[in-house]
């Protein structure tokens, strides 16, 4: 099936696949084993244009859009989902937020650096008491003359210690829970910025996840995005794009898990037969492939919708909910087909299994996606049904 890809989309998909199969595959196993972030890989990705995929040409990007970003993340995730985390956050959160909410000056200052990959982007929303509930954010931003002074700390910031640009959400109004949040563009060399402890994660080991600490951190007023109080709106609208990225990660991990399962089952003999000839294996393969295909259609459709400018919140959340659940079922079955060796780091499925788990958590847990979907669906009915 070709998913109606045009010539350009096919070429882009091929570049992403070739890069994943050659350059990335050469370092993926070791960097995941050692938990090393591959600076050089991001330099190469930047040169190829993968770090400016939603940025217009005038800011040094290539503006291929969300669908092409999804295709790229899918291919990269087949080989190293950790790398895909940074690509996704960088493009669909950091770049996107600056492009859509930054002043002309902010866009000109930061986007060319980000789009070329000269610096990486991060997105600092989560705090110890504010995960799904971002209204509970406590990091404060107080205006003093030409600056805001930030105090507080952020947790689980992907690429936080490697980034040159971090979008930080902080409270400018303590009274108003929802409209009291604001978003800032913060550079790591602003006074008062420091990197705290790294998380010891179960998977995604070649991506870096850290705490960021702000102690009287001085941020110029020009680095406020949009205006005070727009933080919640910015955070939520960016996540619509980010969630397509995470759902695309599910496609790549799922494809790799299916590939591994079939390869393994064709070779393994028990009771005098290849295990792929057992009906129980075939049924697993059928289920895995079908779940993957359904996920792909949901994700591609959501990405195309977002590119076309249609409101896509519901479709994006459906894609994220379904694809990230499906991939966890797929890696489960693939590991089961592998038997004991699947539980060892000798086989790729062990890493895929661990990496897949995070997908149902970050950028909105599955439960949060259900809140979003049900809210949208019920709203549609409210509009047509009598009170």
């Amino acid at each position: 099936m070709n998913y109606q890809l045009n010539e350009e989309e096919k070429m882009l998909q091929k570049t992403a696949a070739d890069f994943a199969n050659k350059s990335l595959a050469a370092v993926a196993v070791e960097s995941n084993e050692k938990g090393e972030f591959q600076d050089d890989i991001y330099k190469q990705l930047g040169k190829l244009g993968f770090l400016g995929m939603t940025v217009p040409e005038k800011y040094g990007g290539v503006d291929f859009g969300n669908f092409c970003l999804a295709l790229s993340i899918e291919q990269i995730s087949r080989v190293c989902a950790s790398t895909a985390v940074a690509i996704s956050v960088h493009n669909s959160l950091t770049n996107w937020v600056i492009l859509n909410f930054g002043s002309a000056e902010t866009r000109e200052k930061y986007l060319p650096l980000l789009a070329s990959g000269e610096v990486l982007g991060a997105y600092a929303l989560t705090e110890s008491n504010a995960g799904s509930d971002i209204g509970a954010i406590q990091t404060s931003a107080v205006r003093e003359g030409d600056n805001y002074i930030l105090n507080g700390s952020k947790l689980f910031v992907s690429t936080g210690d490697k980034a040159g640009v971090v979008i930080v959400f902080a409270r400018t109004d303590t009274e108003n829970r929802k409209r009291g949040l604001s978003a800032f563009v913060v550079e790591p060399d602003f006074p008062g910025f420091s990197v705290g402890k790294p998380e010891k994660k179960m998977g995604l080991k070649a991506s870096s996840t850290v705490e960021l600490v702000f102690e009287d951190c001085v941020v110029p007023v020009a680095n406020l995005l949009a205006e005070e109080g727009k933080g919640m709106l910015i955070a939520l609208s960016a996540l619509d794009g980010g969630r397509i990225g995470i759902a695309s990660q599910a496609l790549g991990i799922g494809q790799a898990a299916l590939d591994e399962a079939v390869k393994f089952a064709r070779g393994r003999v028990q009771f005098g037969r290849k295990i792929i000839d057992f009906q129980s294996t075939k049924w697993k393969i059928a289920e895995m492939a079908t779940k993957l295909e359904a996920s792909r259609l949901l994700v591609y459709n959501a990405a195309r919708l977002r590119d076309s400018g249609d409101i896509s919140t519901k479709h994006v959340s459906m894609a994220k909910l379904f694809a990230t659940r499906a991939v966890n079922e797929i890696v489960y079955d693939s590991l089961q087909i592998h038997g004991g060796v699947g539980y060892t780091s000798e086989f790729l499925i062990e890493r895929l299994f661990r990496d897949a788990r995070a997908l149902e958590i970050y950028e909105g847990t599955s439960e949060v996606q259900k809140l979003v979907i049900s809210r949208e669906v019920i709203k549609e009915y409210d509009r047509i049904l009598p009170d």
Partner: protein, 263 residues
């Protein structure tokens, strides 16, 4: 400098090749087609030469093949080639290297050329003849299977290394020259995203047999593939189990006589 790179569309190296039921060719169903692997080194070397020489140098890719070859031509353009010539005509049915070279020579002559890069062989038919015919038709030297390339400061001489069994051969050749490239010559670049954007706007000149005037193309094939045959299935390996060595030898002799019938 006018740099020409030859390009061929071939089945993916990873594709499993099955013969069609009539035995007249391969079954193309589900087979992915790619740029001939060795041609990728040719593209890279052409692009490097252009970057090195600078000025108004151009890299023109020349491809003869079916309509679908546009896909690989665009990829070469996205890698950085400036324009392309695509010789495409439904009347072309599995042309021999002689026929191919005659047509390529016409297109290349019309375009102008200072140096031609190609792969050392097509990974489909593995004949490695087209470049030799082409050198003859254009009356220029050919150096094949090269693993190193450099050019003189006045751009008139190529310095080449051919890796042969157990030794390296250093060769000098006057331009214009046709050079067939081997693995190891370079690391082909990826088609970058900005490259893909630009490729859209680059010209692919389509030429049919009538455009090229097919005089001089051999009317008859000098060789024809009569039939394609699948490889015989390799037999299953039989392992004789048992503890007693003597019994196993007796069993082996029996199998060789009665089943394999070689004794």
């Amino acid at each position: 400098m006018k740099i020409i790179v030859l390009l061929k569309r071939v089945p993916d190296t990873e594709a499993k090749i099955l013969i069609n039921s009539e035995g007249s060719g391969i079954n193309e169903e589900g087979v992915k087609f790619i740029i001939n692997t060795y041609d990728e080194y040719a593209i890279e070397e052409g692009l490097k030469l252009k970057e090195n020489v600078g000025g108004d140098s151009t890299v023109t890719v020349v491809c003869m093949g079916p309509e679908e070859s546009t896909e690989i031509i665009r990829t070469a353009l996205a890698m950085g080639a400036d324009n392309a010539i695509h010789i495409c005509d439904a009347a072309l049915d599995n042309p021999t290297p002689d026929m191919t070279a005659t047509l390529l020579a016409k297109a290349i002559k019309n375009n102008g050329f200072d140096i031609i890069f190609c792969g050392k062989q097509g990974i489909d038919y593995d004949m490695a003849q087209t470049q030799a015919f082409l050198a003859e038709k254009l009356d220029i030297p050919q150096v094949n299977i090269i693993s190193e390339f450099a050019i003189s400061d006045d751009n008139k001489k190529a310095f080449l290394v051919r890796s042969i069994e157990g030794a390296d051969e250093k060769v000098e050749a006057d331009l214009p020259v046709i050079i067939s490239c081997n693995k190891g010559l370079n690391e082909p670049r990826y088609a970058s995203l900005p490259g893909i954007m630009k490729a859209k706007r680059k010209e692919i000149k389509k030429l049919t047999l009538t455009d090229l005037d097919s005089s001089g193309v051999p009317a008859e094939k000098d060789s024809t593939i009569i039939k394609w045959l699948s490889l015989p299935k390799s037999g299953e390996c039989k392992i004789i189990e048992g503890e007693d060595f003597g019994e196993k030898v007796v069993e082996l002799a029996r199998l060789l006589r009665e089943e394999a019938k070689v004794l």
